[in-house]
Symmetry: C2
Subunit: 489 residues, 2 copies
C-alpha cells in the first residue's frame, strides 16, 4: 500500500459518511416526521463530529505530505484532498462549533423576521454571523482575502476580482436589455388551474426526456426543490403551485440538470474526491443549460406545449409560439428566485457586491438594508417596497452562506459558453428538441463535462468542454438575441 492508496481508502470512507449525511438532509426535507427535529439535530451533530474528526485527522496530513500522484486522476484527487485539509485545519474548533450552534438559531430568527418584515429583529443575529464568518474567512485565507477564501468553498481556484470584472462587463448590457424588454409589449402569461397530479406527471415525463435515471434516483415533493447525493443515489425534489405550473416543471428540469452531473460522473470515480461536481458554478451551469438554454428554447417549448395540452386540455395561450412567449415572460418584480434569465443575473450581482463588502469589513450589518435598497433602485429602477422583497428575501446569509451567490451567475456564464459549443457541434439540435428529444444535448454534456467529475478545476472543466476560455460573451449574445427576437426589438 502506498501513501496514496492509504489516503484514498481513508477518503473513500469519509465520502461514504458524507453521502449518509446528505441522505439524512434529504430525509429531513421529504420524509421526516415533524416531531423528530431535536433528535435529528443530535444525530446530525454526532455524524458531523465524526466527519470533522476524519477531515482534520493528523494522519490524513501525514499521508498528504507523503502521497505522490502517478497520473491525472491521482493528481486531481490529491488537489481536492489537500485543499480541503488545509481549509479544515485552519479553522479553530471553537469557531466551527460556534458557527454550528449559531446557524439554526440565526435561520429561525431570519424566518420570523421575514414573515414580520422586521429587519431590526434579525440584525443582532446577522451581525454575529457576519463576525464569525469574517473570522473564518480570515483564518482560511491566512493573510489573503477573506471573501475569496469563503467563496473557494463553493467555487475553488478562482478569485472575486475575476468574478467582479466579469460581472462589471455584464451589468450595463443586462440593464439595457432589461429596460428595452420591459419597454416593449408584454405577452400574456399562462393562466388556469393545473392539478397537482397532472403537474407531477408532466414533471416526470420531463425528467425522463432529460435523461434522469430513475434506477439511481427518485423524485419527491419538498418545500424547496433540491438535488441531493452523488453516484448511484441522486435524488431530486420539486414543488407544486396549482396556478403556476412552470414553477414545478422548470424546477424539475433545473434539478434534473444538477442530478445529471452527479449521475453522469464516471463510475470509476464513485466515492472518490473527484467523484462529484467540481464546483457550485459548474453545477449551476448544468442545471441552467438544462432549464434555460434547452428547456426554455423555442424548439423544446414546442414539445412541452403539446405535452401540457395533452395533460391539461386547452390552455389560456393560443399556440406554441404564445406558449414560448409565456415561458419566457419578463416582468418587474423583487424576488430572485422568480426572476427571468435576464434579471436573475442582476439579482446576483447586487448580492455579490454587498456580501463581498460585508466580509471585507467595508459594510456592516446595520447599513446593509440601505445599501440593498439603493443598489436595487439603481439596477431595477423602482424602490423595494418591503424588506421581505429586499434584504430579507434569501435564506443564504442567515445560515452563513457568504460567497455562494456568485456561483449562480457564474453558472449562467458557463452555460452560455457550453451552449455555444453544443450548437456548433450539433447544428440540427432544434429539430430534435422540437420532438422532446434532448439526447444529443445531454449526451454532449455528459461526454464533454459530466463524466469527468472534479478531474479538472472549474474553469478548466468548462474550457475543456467548450474548447475555449470561458467568458460572459456567449451568454450575453444569447440573451440579447433571444429576447430581442422574442420582444421584436
Amino acid at each position: 500500500m502506498t501513501a496514496y492508496d492509504d489516503l484514498m481508502a481513508h477518503a473513500r470512507q469519509t465520502e461514504a459518511l458524507s453521502q449518509i449525511s446528505g441522505r439524512l438532509g434529504w430525509d429531513q426535507q421529504t420524509m421526516m416526521p415533524r416531531g423528530s427535529n431535536a433528535q435529528r439535530s443530535e444525530e446530525m451533530a454526532a455524524l458531523e463530529d465524526v466527519l470533522h474528526a476524519r477531515r482534520t485527522d493528523p494522519r490524513l496530513g501525514e499521508l498528504l505530505d507523503r502521497a505522490e500522484a502517478t497520473d491525472d486522476v491521482a493528481a486531481a484527487n490529491l488537489r481536492e484532498l489537500r485543499r480541503d485539509y488545509a481549509r479544515n485545519t485552519r479553522v479553530p474548533a471553537r469557531l466551527a462549533s460556534e458557527l454550528a450552534r449559531l446557524t439554526p438559531l440565526a435561520q429561525a430568527a431570519w424566518e420570523e423576521a421575514r414573515l414580520a418584515d422586521d429587519v431590526a429583529s434579525f440584525l443582532p443575529w446577522l451581525e454575529k454571523m457576519i463576525a464569525l464568518r469574517r473570522e473564518e474567512g480570515q483564518a482560511i485565507a491566512a493573510g489573503g482575502d477573506p471573501y475569496d477564501a469563503l467563496m473557494a468553498d463553493y467555487e475553488p481556484e478562482t478569485d472575486s476580482e475575476t468574478v467582479a470584472a466579469t460581472f462589471d462587463r455584464m451589468r450595463p448590457r443586462l440593464v439595457a436589455l432589461r429596460e428595452a424588454v420591459l419597454g416593449a409589449d408584454s405577452p400574456p402569461a399562462l393562466t388556469g388551474h393545473f392539478p397537482q397530479d397532472g403537474q407531477l406527471r408532466v414533471s416526470r415525463r420531463l425528467a425522463e426526456h432529460f435523461g434522469y435515471d430513475f434506477t439511481r434516483g427518485r423524485i419527491d415533493l419538498a418545500v424547496h426543490p433540491f438535488s441531493s447525493g452523488s453516484g448511484t443515489d441522486v435524488r431530486i425534489t420539486t414543488r407544486v403551485a396549482i396556478e403556476e405550473p412552470f414553477n414545478c416543471l422548470y424546477s424539475t428540469i433545473h434539478e434534473v440538470g444538477h442530478a445529471a452531473y452527479e449521475q453522469g460522473v464516471g463510475a470509476e470515480h464513485l466515492l472518490t474526491p473527484i467523484g462529484r461536481g467540481v464546483s457550485m458554478g459548474v453545477h449551476e451551469s448544468q442545471s441552467r443549460i438544462y432549464e434555460n438554454q434547452i428547456g426554455r428554447s423555442r424548439a423544446f417549448t414546442g414539445w412541452l406545449h403539446g405535452a401540457m395540452v395533452q395533460e391539461f386540455g386547452a390552455l389560456s395561450v393560443a399556440d406554441a409560439e404564445s406558449f414560448y412567449a409565456a415561458v419566457n415572460r419578463v416582468t418587474t418584480g423583487y424576488i430572485r428566485t422568480e426572476a427571468d434569465e435576464i434579471q436573475y443575473n442582476l439579482h446576483i450581482m447586487l448580492r455579490f457586491d454587498l456580501e463581498r463588502d460585508l466580509m471585507r469589513g467595508k459594510l456592516d450589518a446595520a447599513d446593509l438594508e440601505e445599501a440593498w435598497n439603493t443598489r436595487f433602485m439603481s439596477d431595477f429602477g423602482y424602490p423595494v417596497d418591503r424588506p421581505s422583497h429586499g434584504v430579507l428575501q434569501d435564506v443564504h446569509w442567515s445560515v452563513g452562506l457568504f460567497g455562494y451567490f456568485p456561483t449562480y451567475a457564474l453558472g449562467n456564464v458557463y452555460a452560455g459558453c457550453l451552449y455555444q459549443s453544443l450548437r456548433a457541434d450539433h447544428p440540427d439540435l432544434d429539430a430534435q428538441l422540437a420532438q422532446g428529444d434532448t439526447s444529443a444535448a445531454t449526451g454532449w454534456l455528459r461526454e464533454k463535462l459530466q463524466r469527468f467529475g472534479a478531474l479538472r478545476a472549474p474553469r478548466d472543466t468548462i474550457a475543456h468542454a467548450c474548447g475555449f476560455t470561458p467568458d460572459e460573451g456567449p451568454l450575453m449574445d444569447y440573451l440579447e438575441a433571444k429576447f430581442r427576437a422574442l420582444y421584436r426589438l
Copy 2:
C-alpha cells in the same frame, strides 16, 4: 464531569449514530433506488466501522471501570453498556469482518436456493455461517454456552435451559389444542377483492386507534413489514395482498405494537442506553398483545368488522361473529409467518431446538433438513412437501440469526402474562375495545412497561408490569379458552 457523565456523552453519540444506521436500513427497504445497492453497502460499512470503533474503544473500557451508579437509571445504563462492551471486545476483529462479508452473500444464496427449492446449493453457505457463528458464540461465552451467548444479543439475562423448560411445558398442550381445533368444523375464510387504497386507509385508522403517534413516525409500504427507530422517529411499514386484507391490517397492528414501545419510552431516556426496548422478547410481547390479545379479540374485531364494511361494503362473512371466526381461523400449513396464535409457537420451538443443537455442535448443516422434516412430521402430523415450505422458509439462519427465534415465542408468553394483569386491572376492557377504543389497554402498557425502556432486565420488566413472575400459564390458559370457545370444543 464524572466518569459516568463522560461515558453517557460517549454513549449518546454512539446511540445517535446507531439511529442513523437504522434510518438507512429503513430507507433501503422503502425509498432507495434499486441501482444504489453497491454504493449503499459501502456507506453502511463505513458507518459500521465508525460504530465498531466506538463500541470497542479502550477509552470506553476505562470509563466503564471507573464509572459509578448513583441511582437506578445510572445502574441500568451501566448494566447495558458493560454487557455490550464485554461482548464486543471479545469478538476478534477478523471474525467480525468475516461475518460482515459473508452475510450478504449467504443471504443471496439462500434467496436463490429458496426459489429453486434447492437445499444443496445453500449448504456450503450455511456451513460457513454456522462455523463462524459457533466461533463467535464461543468467543462471547468465554467458556459458557455458545448458544446462550448468542441468544443474549436478542434476549439478555436469561438462558436457553429456562427457555427450553418453558417450551417443553407448552408443547404438549399446544399439540393437543391444535389437534382438537383442526378436528372441529372450520369456519369460512374472508374472501374477496380488497383494493390497496382501502386497505391502507383501514390500516391507518387502526394505527390511530392503537395510539400510533404520526408526528413521531410514518407508515410506508415495504416487502416485509417492520418497525424501525427509537425515540421521536419510529417508522413502520406494511404490505398489501389484495385478496388477504388481514395480512396488511394485522401486520400494521403488530408493527404499531413495536413502535408503541419505542415511542412510549420516557423522553428523559432519549438516546441513552436504556432509551429503547430492553429485548426482542419484550418487544415481541408488545407487538403480540396489540396484534393478538387485543387486535384479534372478539370485542375489537367487532369494531374492525364495522370499519371494513364501511370501507369495502358487504363482506363474504355474514356478521361480526363470523368475522371474528375468520380472523382467528386455524388451518394446516407450513409457513411460520402465516400461522395462527396456536401453531406459531410450535414453529418457533422446532427452530429453537434445531438451532441450539447447531450452535452446540450436536447437529450439522448437512443433517438439518432431515432433522427439520422429522420434527415437523412429529408436531404437525403431515410431511413437509418442499424445502421452501420447510428448512428454507426463513431468512434468519442465512444472515446468521441464531438465538433470535425463541424471542418470538417468549414474546407470546410475556404477552399472555401482561394480558392477564391488564384484564384484572380493567374488567370493563371489552366494552371499550368493542368501540375500537384501545386507550385503556395501550395506556396501561405504556404506564406499566413501555415508559421504562430498558430500565429493568427483560423478565423483571414483565414481572414489574404484571405483578408476578412470568411463565407460560396465562398464555396457555388464554389460548385454550379462546379457541375452545371459538371452535365449540
